[in-house]
Subunit: 451 residues, 2 copies
């Protein structure tokens, strides 16, 4: 039996191997990597002492399930993570290649380091340590590790809806969020939902010469620009009719707690964003804008000529990737239909516009007054030596809504990422001390729940 | 000596070989194809009886020059064409591959068929026929065939400015435009200029997670959309201050002639454009919009995620390819500075925008009252059996302005393309009878000038 420090170092070595697998769920050519990553996770669950593991196939990429149910009379916790990662482009902005993990300045750099392989590994390794040390676990454990978090989560959505009895638990722990600041233990109690889709605009039958037809022919990229600017004004206010109707303001106590969080707007702008100004709706704080207000964003426009040099073409069609982040109590289905109506109302003359929904998830807001969240807060306070703060995240973890709807359980979002971890960006990293402290905190959490 | 019909069929076979060369001047990987195409053209000029040929290197791709100056006391004509072609994408919209010429329904389909290899070949083959038939030419001939028409024309611009004596001529003939309608001989007396460049917008230092930062971070694609819509309104009116100040209205006689051209707006919309409506400035005819009014177009936007599926990224930067078509008496330099000022004035908060000029050319408007245009009109009337009409083109042929400025000569734009030739688009074609009649018309033109 190694000591805990050696054990954690070995856990890091194993994480490095997992990070080498380019398990990009959204790109079909990485299918073999997805299988390899799923196998690696399943093997790790077996090593952690799970008495039964299984790869569940429902959509594109397998769910990895593992259980140990030997703590009779104790609570059952569902442990969630994901082994898939975001695409790594633009590749030329990485200082070290995204799938060749490198440790620099006590950070491990790789795609998926923080989102979510590193954090998934915290859960797996905390359980493995307890099992190795005690030969048993203090509570019952069910792991559910998915491979489609970055591409819509179709498999887990189907499985959770289909097998609530199999997944029955008292609470879920999700390790896929971040601490508010280095060293400050944080539990995320609110997440934005998302509706992601494509805006397809068709103008002419085929690409046209911009000299011969320019002035008389519709331009689909210009049409997209007109639609986008008609849906969101320069101040970041979304103009989709009815869109804000269900938006709930943060409770006064929550808003007050946010105001006392350590936050330097100048540093946020300069170090995290690196733009010339913070933008968005006037009169709202950064916390409001990113945690409590919905968004409308464009992620890319395909169509037309983007190579080197000049091509004088009016493209026949163009596609914009667009998303809306939703907050409580907005509903994805309603937002989609509001968006579709708004697009129809502002589509300019000469073109046809069609919205194609790709994936969505509702927002979530957890009431922090329950034992699973309290014990988590106390476990982190023990390890980090600071009072745990309740925060929200602007991102979307669709599984929280699924667990609530189908299993009727609260989710505890214990996150160990840091705000500058560059998730979804080049040079994604995970702070190694947070990896180690995360393992300690989850060990203490499971111990406390079993006490 | 073959008869003229056999000669023209053989000319078509040779054209097919030329069309097989993917001489895309704008893409560096086609450099060897550019050299091969230049060599093919030079060899054809030698076969046509030129006593001296030369490949001139000034910028990226060689100019091919050839001369026969044996008609003492007769006029000298400068014959212009280009051997480079536009990129062929989107490839999947071609019915036959762009560089595997195929004849269907009396049309030859290939990239460059009409723009401009087919039309260049008309000039070369008309000269070759006269030389073969008579052992001499009725007038003096200088060929100048460039390889950078689709990528800015840097080489020819330098050479014409540098060697006006070498290129001295009485007029130029440019075979790179279209007939107004099938069977209707046309001379183009007006061309729009162009200013083509890139709008670079930089927002954050690197790509950001749209969940974590969405609502507070600037989005460069949205910024481009805001800039584009601030520079052109929904009616197609360009909002760049001062932009229309120098725009000259067509003379009443010209406007009247346009009104009597055979033109069916419904057919134009349905067969040529294939969109749901003609767009552009209210109160202007299609001829006004495409011949006599300037444009502002976006050709593509690079930046962000455009692959399959979803990536929730706010890109750090984005680039739009944009152009302005200019009409007499607008000036490229002035338009560029107006555009730059306008961009600076409308750039939204949080981002930096920079305009990078790529290439430009002034507009041109030729006075049709001169012998070189008259004889061309009469030669075409002989061959096509219909009165020649004077039209304009919305496209840009920068060389017309260069010949005017540096050589002081008028350009005769005898075009044999057709409006549905799909130039710059998939399924570009050239009508084979126009190729044959074009050779006949140029033969008659040279004979008339020498008479």
């Amino acid at each position: 039996m190694p000591d805990i420090e050696s054990f954690k170092k070995q856990a890091l070595d194993e994480l490095i191997e997992l990070l080498k697998i380019p398990s990009i769920s959204t790109l079909p050519e990485h299918e073999p990597d997805m299988r390899k990553a799923a196998d690696t996770v399943e093997a790790a669950l077996l090593r952690a002492g799970m008495t039964r593991t299984e790869q569940i196939h429902r959509a594109n990429h397998p769910l990895v399930y593992g259980e140990w149910l030997g703590a009779s009379g104790k609570p059952t916790l569902l442990l969630y993570g994901h082994y898939d990662v975001q695409p790594a482009d633009p590749l030329d902005e990485w200082k070290s290649p995204p799938f060749e993990p490198e440790i620099r300045d006590n950070n491990i750099y790789a795609r998926g380091a923080t989102d979510d392989k590193g954090q998934t590994w915290i859960l797996v390794k905390a359980v493995e340590w307890l099992m190795k040390r005690d030969g048993k676990l203090p509570i019952n454990i069910k792991f559910l590790i998915e491979g489609e978090e970055e591409c819509g989560g179709e498999a887990i959505e189907a499985y959770v809806a289909e097998k609530p009895a199999q997944l029955a638990a008292d609470a879920a722990i999700i390790c896929d969020s971040e601490m508010f600041a280095p060293g400050l233990p944080s539990i995320c109690i609110g997440l934005r939902g998302i509706v992601y889709g494509e805006l397809h605009v068709e103008a002419a039958r085929q690409d046209l010469h911009s000299g011969v037809y320019g002035g008389a022919a519709p331009n689909p990229i210009m049409a997209i620009a007109e639609i986008l600017t008609a849906l969101k004004d320069k101040d970041g206010h979304i103009l989709i009719p009815g869109f804000y109707d269900r938006v709930v303001k943060p409770a006064p106590a929550e808003a007050e707690a946010w105001a006392s969080l350590p936050f330097d707007e100048k540093e946020y702008l300069e170090k995290e964003i690196g733009a010339t100004a913070i933008t968005g709706e006037p009169g709202f704080s950064v916390f409001d804008k990113t945690w409590a207000r919905p968004t409308f964003e464009v992620h890319g426009i395909r169509g037309g000529f983007v190579g080197e040099g000049a091509k004088t073409v009016i493209p026949a069609r163009a596609v914009a990737k667009i998303s809306m982040r939703l907050v409580a109590d907005q509903r994805p289905d309603e937002a989609i239909s509001q968006l579709k109506s708004a697009i129809a109302a502002v589509t300019p003359k000469g073109v046809k516009a069609e919205y194609k929904f790709l994936h969505g998830a509702g927002p979530s807001l957890v009431n922090p007054d329950n034992k699973f969240i309290h014990e988590s807060a106390l476990a982190m306070e023990e390890v980090f030596g600071k009072k745990t703060v309740y925060i929200r995240s602007g991102g979307s973890i669709p599984i929280v809504g699924l667990f609530d709807t189908h299993l009727g359980i609260p989710s505890v979002l214990m996150g160990f990422g840091l705000p500058d971890d560059n998730l979804h960006s080049p040079n994604e990293k995970f702070h190694v001390p947070n990896f180690y402290n995360g393992i300690d905190a989850v060990i203490r959490y499971l111990e406390r729940l079993g006490a």
